[in-house]
Symmetry: C2
Subunit: 376 residues, 2 copies
């Protein structure tokens, strides 16, 4: 076997003009290592006088490579701390082993917990996770989705921004058979995988709970109604009232948002409207917290004067006084389920869309325990 020396780009060409020269064009692996240069397959190949394909296969434990060669390659790789260039592999394999995730906002406990669930599954399966925030902005969501497309993510898990109505920016993923999974905020028009909780049922249950406590004039602060989740919770609210023969009063339904600040603003608005109520069902906990802070500041007793309930079971729900009754969502499990769907679709692209709906649980705390109150 002749001693070959695979050299880096083009160096050999010059050498061919002066075959009598014995310049050592490519640096030794030792030198490259010492100089903190990237160690590549070629360095190992040169050192062992084998081809880079052999090195590549040896590192993959390919059956066609002899035991001795394998051992030598693996030892050298270990010794020089060889780190494969994931970019190069991705280019050829057309798989980056990354999952893109887009959430409206990271600093909500719900979303960061879902992400923890996604990561948990993803890392175990050898996938990286790229997380992006839309900051509830449609424009931003379009940009980051394009970025992730160009970064060739193998899959995309999304909770859409509250502004998002047009879903065209996700069509490319579908076209290219890149698994696309929506969670929590499911888009209306697009046919795809999804993970959500039974928002309808959760809302129904918690409103029924309020009714059981004796509440009759229950206001609802909804999320933006272009989002299915908000609609479903609204419907659950309405149907619970219906079931118990309480008339639905549109003046008690306020379109709000998902932020504490919006909960505060909507509560203020409700007071200027001078509507009379005995309970508020907020679309999510941050809003419920805003509601409670505002009520407390006005000297209104919770739940004696007004009961308050939320949705999510954020950690803050147990901090506020009185503790907030809310619908507990299995946030971590939602992330796990979404990532599982991704893995399934990545393995078996032929299968149809998967829609998973997880159950919620009532977390009943003091903010709704209205039963023993005096009548107003």
């Amino acid at each position: 076997m002749c001693v070959r020396k695979i050299t880096y780009s083009g160096n050999n060409d010059k050498l061919d003009d002066f075959p009598e020269y014995t310049y050592k064009v490519s640096m030794s692996i030792e030198d490259r290592y010492k100089l903190n240069k990237e160690i590549t397959l070629i360095d190992i190949a040169n050192e062992l006088n084998v081809s880079k394909s052999t090195v590549s296969r040896a590192l993959q434990n390919h059956h066609s490579i002899g035991a001795a060669t394998k051992k030598a390659v693996q030892e050298l790789a270990e010794k020089y701390n060889y780190q494969p260039n994931a970019i190069a592999a991705s280019l050829f394999k057309k798989s980056t082993k990354t999952i893109g995730v887009i959430v409206p906002i990271l600093s909500h406990y719900f979303f960061s917990t879902v992400i923890a669930g996604i990561e948990d599954v993803a890392y175990k399966a050898g996938y990286k996770v790229i997380i992006c925030q839309s900051h509830e902005l449609y424009e931003r969501e379009v940009i980051v989705s394009k970025t992730l497309l160009s970064a060739k993510v193998d899959g995309l898990i999304v909770s859409v921004s509250k502004e998002t109505v047009n879903m065209d920016h996700f069509q490319s993923f579908l076209n290219k058979d890149i698994p696309l999974i929506f969670f929590d905020r499911l888009p209306a028009g697009i046919q795809s995988n999804s993970v959500s909780v039974d928002d309808y049922e959760g809302a129904f249950k918690i409103v029924e709970h309020l009714i059981e406590q004796g509440c009759k004039r229950i206001a609802h602060f909804t999320g933006p109604l272009n989002i299915a989740l908000a609609q479903n919770r609204l419907q659950g609210y309405k149907d619970a009232l219906k079931k118990h023969h309480i008339p639905i009063n549109n003046e008690l339904i306020y379109e709000c948002g998902f932020e504490r600040t919006q909960g505060i603003a909507t509560t203020e608005k409700m007071f200027t409207d001078q509507v009379s109520i005995d309970a508020i069902f907020a679309v999510c906990d941050p809003v419920a917290i805003g509601v409670m802070l505002t009520l407390k500041q006005k000297g209104i007793k919770i739940p004696r004067d007004i009961a308050v309930v939320g949705f999510n079971d954020d950690p803050t729900a147990t901090v506020i006084d009185p503790p907030l009754t809310t619908v507990a969502q299995p946030a971590f499990e939602i992330g796990v389920a979404a990532a599982d769907i991704f893995l399934k679709q990545a393995t078996d692209p032929g299968s149809g869309y998967i829609k998973e709906i997880l159950k919620t649980n009532l977390a009943i705390r003091q903010s709704s325990l209205w039963k023993d109150k005096d009548n107003i």
Copy 2:
């Protein structure tokens, strides 16, 4: 000019054997588009009968390309929604235009807000952000740092896990001149860029505030002391006491952690120890919240019996009753500063390490307003 047809990998080779055949080996751009195939430079090149280098340069608005050609290329790219393969570009350019971020845990408001700051700067500068969590686990931190290294991030912004003492896994980044920026949790042994707040001063100020309120037996629940931040806050605590001639009592210093649960556990422990105190300075807000919840549950009045202060100014600080006095950290600005340092180092790798220390502000609320209390 002859009509060339650049074909995809290897297809031409077979054709060479049968030159008389006129198979159209490469699909037309139109067909590829319709079939949702990836549109590449070569498709555009073929369509226009120019070389792919010309297309590449046209899209970069290179001066050596004629105006007509440029226009034709750009129009076609637009028409077929050409998305450059970022992976391929990265491989050659050795720059992925991504910043890696490692935080202990996403679901802390502080960290997710820092990330929002990083993203803000990064996206404006055309960088993507890959976010990873170490979950406060050293092992996990090592793994994700290797993943990010292999993913060839252009820079790394880190807040180390509470377990991390050994910093070897970051050495590779330094060796390869990949900008490395630590924030909040600064490692002790490693020389690198950093962004932090003046933990010492913040702690000093808030403890001095407690002393001014009349507190004399002030306990401190510290973070893990291998982390500089915890040490600095501890030192600030000690020096504030010293300044006001209050003896430092090691029995009042509890090594705690950063979680609410640890705040609860440590408070319980303190009670079994039966130490007598009139204030608690917690290393961070989640711990302070845990402390307050436990005290309240025991019927201890805050601040009348025991004043409580924290560090961070999480949104929860204004939810708990009484509202928590704490040290406000400019979390978003910390992220911005870290990303700015990255951009600086990426542009001018020669410059030395940058250490940025931001100022804190006291957010004084009821939990520390002890002045008018009755003496115990």
